[in-house]
Point group: D2
């Protein structure tokens, strides 16, 4: 079938028979492509290609490896429209949102262009008398990435540009929901001059994941997805002596203080809660209002904006929100809304029952707002991953911080205030890996690193940026001494035959 998506192995598209899954356009609810699910043999084929490509790629100077990334950046910019359309078509997010996603991914490619700088080792002359020591950072070999549906282009770009520019060969297993943009992007890297086998894409489900986990040639795995699977991959990978960084779920709180610029905070919350239908691990899903006055004002200002959200097929322009990614996702979110009502939360805006004209089978849920949510409710404790914002009311910043610090997740958080001291206290003591001050989605730029705390990330090192470099390299420490001659006479160095 022409709509069967290929794997990409050793520089070539590879079509396989066997098990497959359906790829939907969530705006229409229809199947648009078929995705082959790799069996062990296909996974091994990719591993073999990567392994074969490694020795030459490892020995390519970093500055030359970076040249491929410079060209990759150009190609991504030139092919932006194609990529963005594929994202939107399979994921459902708006074109504008997909464009932002791709831009963030390109920034990771830019960081990879700095390979010669970021791979510098440390040199010490005279660690002892006439003894020198230095540390070098060498690639691991074959490494793999397993990426989620919610940023089908960006999350792969968090991983392989850096892994590859560090000298590794890479196997990507993109999400089976929306794999096409990831495949296109990977092919562009090939077009940019990457030797074949250095990057490979295999599609698949748990079976492919397990094949990667079990393969001794795979030295490291980067994962982004849900917490239970993150934990599984972390412990299974580690058990086999691999490095793993596994990023999982989140429940990100925004705290609003009374001195905040409320209009600004409300606009920020709208984007952070409902952008991409809430299907972001950095989405704000809880707004913590400090004081009832703040809570009342927030609710008053949010309500009409939520009702006015422009919702439709992601591939159309000028929208605020598209559908959820699957029917299952839609049902899960609807279930949470019902659960919230039952638990006694006040449902201010109800997103259920939304029908988009012309897209009646799309997986839509409208923007939803709960007030008076309490920490014991499921809608507070669990990650909904949908367009549902919960308002929690507290009496002090300290109480807000206690809530956040007691939550099992610690991915992102944000404080709205004008007060320098409140900001410093919050940044210092909050048990969360990524903190915003008046910045609702504090995703670190590509030259810093991304990572949550607590059960939002398993591993020592965060994703991309400086931590990414360390994750994709291993330290080699060298100590060197040369036995000394008294003097270095000409005779002593004269042609060996006279020696």
């Amino acid at each position: 079938m022409s709509n069967r998506i290929p794997h990409f192995i050793n520089g070539q598209q590879v079509l396989t028979e066997g098990r497959s899954s359906d790829v939907y356009n969530p705006s229409t609810g229809s199947v648009i492509r078929k995705l082959p699910l790799a069996d062990d043999k296909t996974v091994q084929q990719a591993i073999d290609a990567a392994k074969a490509a490694f020795p030459a790629w490892r020995n390519t100077p970093p500055a030359r490896r970076a040249q491929v990334m410079f060209r990759f950046k150009q190609l991504l910019e030139q092919n932006k429209d194609r990529i963005v359309r594929l994202i939107s078509e399979e994921h459902g997010k708006t074109i504008e949102d997909a464009t932002g996603e791709l831009q963030r991914g390109i920034e990771n490619v830019e960081y990879a262009c700095a390979a010669p700088e970021i791979l510098k080792g440390e040199y010490s002359r005279n660690v002892g008398p006439n003894i020198d020591g230095w540390s070098d950072f060498q690639p691991l070999g074959v490494v793999a990435g397993i990426t989620p549906f919610n940023f089908p282009a960006m999350v792969p770009l968090w991983m392989y540009p850096l892994a590859i520019v560090c000298g590794n060969c890479f196997i990507l297993k993109p999400s089976e929901r929306d794999p096409s943009s990831a495949l296109l992007v990977a092919e562009l890297l090939q077009e940019a001059g990457l030797p074949k086998g250095v990057l490979n894409v295999v599609h698949g489900d748990k079976s492919a994941v397990d094949a990667l986990l079990q393969a001794p040639e795979v030295k490291a795995i980067s994962f982004v997805g849900s917490t239970p699977i993150a934990e599984y991959i972390y412990s299974e990978g580690n058990k086999r002596g691999k490095r793993v960084q596994a990023l999982g779920g989140a429940k990100n709180h925004a705290v609003v203080l009374g001195d905040a610029d409320l209009d600004n905070a409300v606009n920020a919350l709208m984007g952070a809660a409902y952008g991409s239908c809430g299907e972001r691990c950095m989405a704000i899903s809880v707004a913590v209002a400090v004081g009832d006055a703040v809570a009342d004002a927030l609710i008053a200002k949010l309500t009409p904006k939520i009702r006015a959200l422009k919702i439709g097929a992601g591939t159309e322009l000028g929208l605020d929100m598209g559908p959820l990614v699957t029917k299952d996702a839609q049902n899960r979110v609807l279930g949470y809304i019902e659960d919230g009502v039952k638990a006694g939360a006040e449902l201010i805006v109800d997103g259920r029952g939304l029908s988009v004209a012309g897209f009646e089978n799309g997986f839509f849920v409208g923007g939803t707002l709960f007030d008076k949510v309490t920490p014991d409710m499921r809608i507070y404790r669990e990650e909904i991953f949908g367009p549902v914002l919960c308002v929690v009311r507290v009496d002090s910043l300290e109480e807000a911080m206690r809530l956040i610090n007691e939550h099992e997740y610690g991915n992102g958080t944000c404080l709205f205030t004008r007060d320098g001291e409140a900001a410093r206290l919050f940044c210092d003591e909050i048990e969360v890996g990524m903190v915003g001050v008046n910045v609702p989605l504090p995703v670190p730029v590509a030259y810093h690193s991304f990572g949550g705390w607590k059960r939002s990330l398993f591993g020592d090192l965060h994703a991309y940026g400086p931590d990414g470099v360390r994750f994709y390299t291993k330290r080699k420490a060298i100590t060197q001494r040369w036995p000394q001659r008294k003097t270095h006479e000409a005779a002593q160095f004269a042609f060996p035959s006279n020696g």
Copy 2:
């Protein structure tokens, strides 16, 4: 009983009843002390003390935390003789060797004194227009170290000075074979001004290790020991969401090229193979001679020196080697020698049957040399951890390197040569974490980091030095924006009551 060793919890010696084990003087073969083996309750007591001490210690500025380390260095230097005597008495190594061990440990304290420098984060102004971003490195909380018998003072000093100066609280479980020096050293840190509870020492066996593994309050574990236990701790710790760095076994090869300064190489090998009775994870246990001429010369020069080794009770001065640490260790080494003979290796010097006058019950084995060892023999494949050096003969540097790269361990290695190119080739392509050029024990200095590759280390980050800092801290990324006013008139900032 006066010879029962206490735990050290919350700043105080704690004596417990219950299970205990014997501590020997291996030179005499006699039990000299009794060691309590902590039950879960005692371990929990230490964890509770550490947890209680954490908030205040975390908030103590790094420069003040460093003051404790400056004083600790002084106290270690002032108490050197006491510490060294305890090491030698319980471990068996010579006084000179114990002195060297302590010196290396002190260097890690010196590195910890640089806390304010090594904890610097990264700051970026204008990650976006008027948005700033920075990364901060925050302590983990309660962390633990489990250390081996072979460097009873040094390995704990690899861990807790750095962990503590980074703001963590620490629980040390030293080896049950020779715990007294570790205990003394820990008490000196308290004397240096460390708040109580920041460092705790609990003695114990697998039961205590498991209690640490299971405690949710313990956020990270550093381990040094054998590979099977390293693997166990790595996977059990990871399974519970902890960070783990676990250092295991080794089989360190020294390659000798024909252009090497042979006398120099032979002297280096003597120390590296027989020092501390070979009970070092960086000991050279295989000498790879490139060419038979080199092999013959090596054997000829080593043999008389091995026979002349001065062996006796570690606590006496002027010796080259003391006993092995336990009767079991002695038996294991003797078993390996027998196994080597059976497998067909040529036994050049036989260390069996050594009796030291006045110390007839000591756990002694003499220096042993095998020639014509081959890669299939157990004495080649396994870590003997005794005074046994195996000579392997090869035809080229490439062949030597292939041997090393195929061995399951990759801790340390060394090349003896005068040739710049050979050195560069070796350093670049050898699959080993710590490489020496004419340096037989390439243990990185305290301001670089220590770690092997392959099955010699499990984890992303090496021990001590810059990697140690990253292991004992987690990254927090902050993104900050302040909503802008047009101008900042006096009126606008006037006392709020007028606002």
Copy 3:
């Protein structure tokens, strides 16, 4: 004469005849010691000693050089009382203030203890195929420091611990007003184990300065003092191919916004304006009040506190302020006060005519406060270096910042506010090298670097901290390639006679 102060050259006290100057106790107004003023021969003697000591010191591993600094820190702490008393006796500052000064100096010694870390170079494997490159930081040779009277112990400690630990040899010319503490401190470094000749102290005036400027062996000069002399040394030193960093005058403004915690700001201003009698290059000498309400409140709260300042002989305990350093300094300050009155500033507290019982000949001036100072007045434009605080009234933060940015000096400044945005705006756009937010004396800690902008500092690199390391070292870049052999057979490396 027993009260004649010696030079310290090549590890020994050296007494010279010839020109001399008087050293006073400014609290009593009496001469207490005689200071020899070095002629060219004496300066050259110091240079020769430094030059002779250089080769061995340069080759001493950084970690060993750091050991001297560790011991130096201990000796400084043990001799704190003696040093502090000498500072106070010759400079006039209070014992508490001198103690603070010494503490800050010791922190620079602590930073020097991190030598192995801060001297790390950058290493790049494969800058080209099989070509490696690295950068190393090597000492300059003989370098000199010329230091001011106002921090007689601290400013020398900004310079030579770092210069020396980087491998240089040093010549210090301390202020001729209060040289005794600097001499004592230097002798303690010798006692700490510094090889003789590595640090030398010569006393003198312009003639000694010129001898240092002209000596080709002196590769770099660090200077702290007034702007005209800083400029002279900068251009004369540069003309002779030396590196120079020359720190000059200051006029540090504190801006107070209406939302500031005023009591806190007032307390901060008291210390920053009147501490050490205003004889600090980081002293706050201008308070810029944003809005008349703030100005009125400031004046109201400052006035009684200024009148209540406890002023007396620096060597007594429990005081707020001592005398100025010389009769000339006293007269200069009194002249400025008169000038301010004539120019139309409102003299709120008049410090003239102060007499301290028992110390009637001391060089005292009381705390002085002017209101309604304007930018055209000499008391605003020039550095008074005395206990005189000028209040300037403005209408907005922007106006306050314009004032500061237009002033010729740009050393330090501070903003008092609670507002995060105001702080960010101020920090970003103010043309001043050291900025405090609610910190009145934003002297960077020893692991950052000290330096003003505009005519407050001449040179590329700031003092101490990371910039200090770069100032005291020169970069050497090495590029290394080894011609490759095909294989490395045993025969090829066999004894050369067979080659």
Copy 4:
């Protein structure tokens, strides 16, 4: 006239009347263009444009500034042929050599693309209790570059991409001999999206240089040229409070040991001595042979290769060498050859009297080789800047190093050997800023920094790379504390009107 070259000011070509100079094609000896020499007014126009552009450019986030550099790299690659032809036409070097020059320049643009990484500041939480400190690197404002004829495209690219990406505005005064390639390159940066006024090009001679030196708006000057002018600019610039880095002359020695791979060394020397007609500050102009056997072999192998050099018009393909840049340069080199002969050096190959068919008026000198040159000869002491290689004979490596260390210049040097110890000794103790081991032109890659020692460079910081970043930025140190409230109740933060 259509062949009058314009200035480039505020984003536009500016044609001026007044004084001008001739631009030659040195291969034909004919004038091909006229160059206007800027008067003070034109220089000031450029300064004004730069100053006006500064505030907005400074506030543009580094990551956006870097985007311009990414596009600049593309444009340079797309326009490579045009640029290379202009270089060759006006300078005389071969097309292949010009291509190499441009490539090196592009690498500096690549380094500038890493702006967000290389501009990171240092952040310290808790420099005191609840006090944070950080250091930021801010642009200087308007800075200038004065560049030499020998790398008309590359040396400007060492300077302004980095200066500009750091946030500065730049004025380039290229060499008046071959300004066209620099102008074209600058226009391409504009095309890449640089705001107008950020980069300006003014042509001129000493009068323009002096105008830049005197302008108070110009905060820093980078210069590459001869040592007397470097010294002039360094001391005149410093006198006016500017930062200056001024790179001057060189006399680079290659030392050849008896164990070197001689064929390799000879090939390396051919390129390093005669490439670009010896008009490179990194050209090898002295070969130091250790032992007569080495010297004799070198002479024997070099002679036929020098005689076989293919010399012609630079713009033709397949040549080894073109003409010198001017008639004056030709005469100067011929004079040196005559002087060498008179002084008693042995002239092995005589490059005088060369005539190239069809280019009889070109400024050609053939490859020239002297043997038995001694340190007292002018051809040894002075920089010839022509295709003249001097062989000096010595008896030991130590003697060779003494020679080098006593020479007034210390730019580059190289050792040919296989011996690790010799290489280490040489690298460690040679008084030269850039050192090669078997690398004849050890120009550091763009991510390290370029700079000589002794009278080859005046200034603290080397050119481009990490030092370049520091040269083009000034450090600002911020210390921040927020006065603490007890708790942060809702009421306290509630709308100010309730406050």
